[in-house]
Every structure is written in structure tokens, then in C-alpha cells.
């Protein structure tokens, strides 16, 4: 993580709190957009937005707050891109890092929409409840329940019932 600012006390406290979350944010964004380079760009934008909002941040769960900013940016970017009919794919290149490690999982994930991927990450990896995810993604709780249910059913079917 490069230094986001220099001497100001706000920037110093921001960097001290947020810099350790850079890798986690890039990884989560890469999972959503399917492209590590794009994930890094989105992470930079997320850090800038977070820095702007830092003086107003209440201080609770900074990591989750940063991830939420980044994930919402990624979802918006993919939604905006989907409106352009000539760029239907969510990612322009095959993610070699994912295909090298777990191609079956990635192919199953690649068939999900960005909000479904985000909800899956926040639930399975970060342990947030449906209500917390709904609040972070600014959607009704029932929508998150539906996303998670359909996502897990899809993954069960694609990955086999590995219970």
C-alpha cells in the first residue's frame, strides 16, 4: 500500500488504520470484478473516497466500512458497464490466479452477478448477517436472503454436495 497522504494528522490516522486493509480489499474486489488490475484501481478509488469521508466516520468497524465502500464501487462499475451493450463480459481477461488455484470454484462464481458475489463474500468469508449485508449494500434484507439462497444453491449444484 502506497502512502495516501503526507503530514496531516487526519491522513496519518487514516493511513495507520486503513493501510493494513489494502490487500484484503483488493482480494475482495478481484473476487467481485474478476480482474486483479481493475481491483487495484477500484481499491485506490475506495481509499480516496474513504479518506474524504474519514472526518465523518464514526470509528466502528473501519475494515468493514472500507470494504463496503469498495464493494459498492465495484457493483456500480459493473452495473454501469453492463449498460454498454458491446461489453457484456464482466471481466476482460481470464483471471489466471483463480483458474490456477480452483478453476471449478471460479467457473461457478463467474456465473454469479456482482451483488451475489458481494453478498456471498460478506456472509461466508466475513461473517456478516443478512441484515448487516442489507444495510451495507443498501438493499432490503429479503433481497440479500434471496441472493444468498440462490447463490448457495447454484454453488451446491455446480460444486457438488461436498458436505
Amino acid at each position: 500500500m502506497e502512502s495516501v497522504a503526507t503530514a496531516s494528522p487526519i491522513a496519518t490516522s487514516f493511513e495507520a488504520t486503513m493501510a493494513p486493509n489494502y490487500d484484503g480489499l483488493v482480494r475482495r474486489l478481484a473476487f467481485i470484478v474478476g480482474d486483479a488490475e481493475e481491483a487495484k484501481d477500484l481499491a485506490q478509488t475506495a481509499y480516496l473516497k474513504a479518506l474524504e469521508a474519514w472526518p465523518r466516520f464514526d470509528g466502528s468497524d473501519p475494515r468493514g466500512w472500507l470494504y463496503t465502500i469498495g464493494i459498492n464501487l465495484a457493483i456500480s462499475e459493473l452495473r454501469r458497464r453492463r449498460l454498454r451493450f458491446w461489453r457484456r463480459r464482466t471481466s476482460s481477461t481470464e483471471p489466471s490466479w483463480a483458474l490456477r488455484v480452483d478453476p471449478d470454484l471460479w467457473q461457478a462464481i463467474d456465473e454469479l452477478d456482482a451483488p451475489q458475489r458481494a453478498a456471498l463474500l460478506l456472509n461466508v468469508l466475513d461473517g456478516y448477517t443478512q441484515a448487516e449485508i442489507a444495510s451495507r449494500l443498501d438493499v432490503p434484507s429479503g433481497t440479500v436472503a434471496s441472493w444468498l439462497s440462490r447463490t448457495k444453491a447454484h454453488l451446491r449444484q455446480r460444486l457438488g454436495e461436498e458436505r
Partner: protein, 142 residues
């Protein structure tokens, strides 16, 4: 207690995410501007291609649209509508001349001769339909 399927998913997703390259890329070697330039070039080629296509279609259709139809050119020469055209010649510029036609009553006529209609028309049995040569004109044969 986490669902076993969720637990398995968590492990596999974690392994996947650990493989994501996270090191910042130096600004100078970033591929995104290249991707932008590629997209710009594609759009430029598309725009030029479309422009050429439009110009080519205009080049084909405009002269055809501005040229009077064959029927209109016959009307301009005084050939009535609905008659049978037996023959129609043209000068070096493509202008119609010596148009011989048979009217509804079966009479054969000729219009637009240069100094007269110097054409002679016979049917397949060598019967003279119209004699436009110099000298006395033959009676048009129905």
C-alpha cells in the same frame, strides 16, 4: 456453528483470494491506458468504416436518384404512356433518339430523329414496320 457447506466454501474462497496478486503496479507499466487506447482505436476504425460505407452508398444511390427514369425520358420525348416500344437508340451521351413505338391502334411512329427518323424497322418476316430512311416514307404497317 457454521454450515459444513459454508465452511467448505469459506476455505476454498480464502485459498482463491490468497492467490490474488495485490502488489501495487508502477503507474508507468499499468495496462489500463493501453486497453483504453485499444478501445479508442477500435472505435476510430469503426467510425471510419461506417463513414466510408455511407459515402459509398451515397455515391451509388445519388446519381441513380438524380437521373430520370427510362419511362420519364420517353415521356419527355413525347412517347405516350402504355405504348409498345419497338426500338430505341441512343446517342454518344446516352440520350434517347430514334424511338420507334406502336400505339394502341397498331400504328408505328418514330420520335426524336436527328434530321428525321432515319430508321427502318421490319418484323421477323421482313415486313416493313417503319421506314424512316430518306425519300418517300413507307406507310406504317400495323
Amino acid at each position: 456453528m457454521m454450515d459444513p457447506f459454508d465452511s467448505m466454501l469459506r476455505q476454498r474462497i480464502t485459498r482463491l483470494l490468497v492467490a490474488v496478486p495485490t502488489e501495487p503496479i508502477p503507474q508507468a507499466s499499468r495496462p489500463r491506458p493501453m486497453a483504453g487506447r485499444r478501445m479508442l482505436r477500435k472505435r476510430l476504425i469503426l467510425a471510419v468504416g461506417l463513414g466510408l460505407l455511407i459515402l459509398a452508398s451515397l455515391a451509388v444511390s445519388l446519381p441513380a436518384m438524380s437521373r430520370p427514369t427510362y419511362e420519364a425520358r420517353l415521356r419527355d420525348l413525347g412517347v405516350p404512356a402504355g405504348v409498345e416500344i419497338i426500338t430505341a437508340g441512343a446517342d454518344a451521351n446516352g440520350n434517347l433518339m430514334d424511338v420507334v413505338y406502336r400505339d394502341k391502334d397498331g400504328h408505328v411512329h418514330c420520335v426524336k430523329g436527328v434530321g428525321g427518323c432515319y430508321v427502318s424497322i421490319t418484323d421477323p418476316s421482313r415486313r416493313v414496320l417503319y421506314d424512316g430512311g430518306p425519300g418517300p416514307k413507307a406507310t406504317p404497317t400495323p
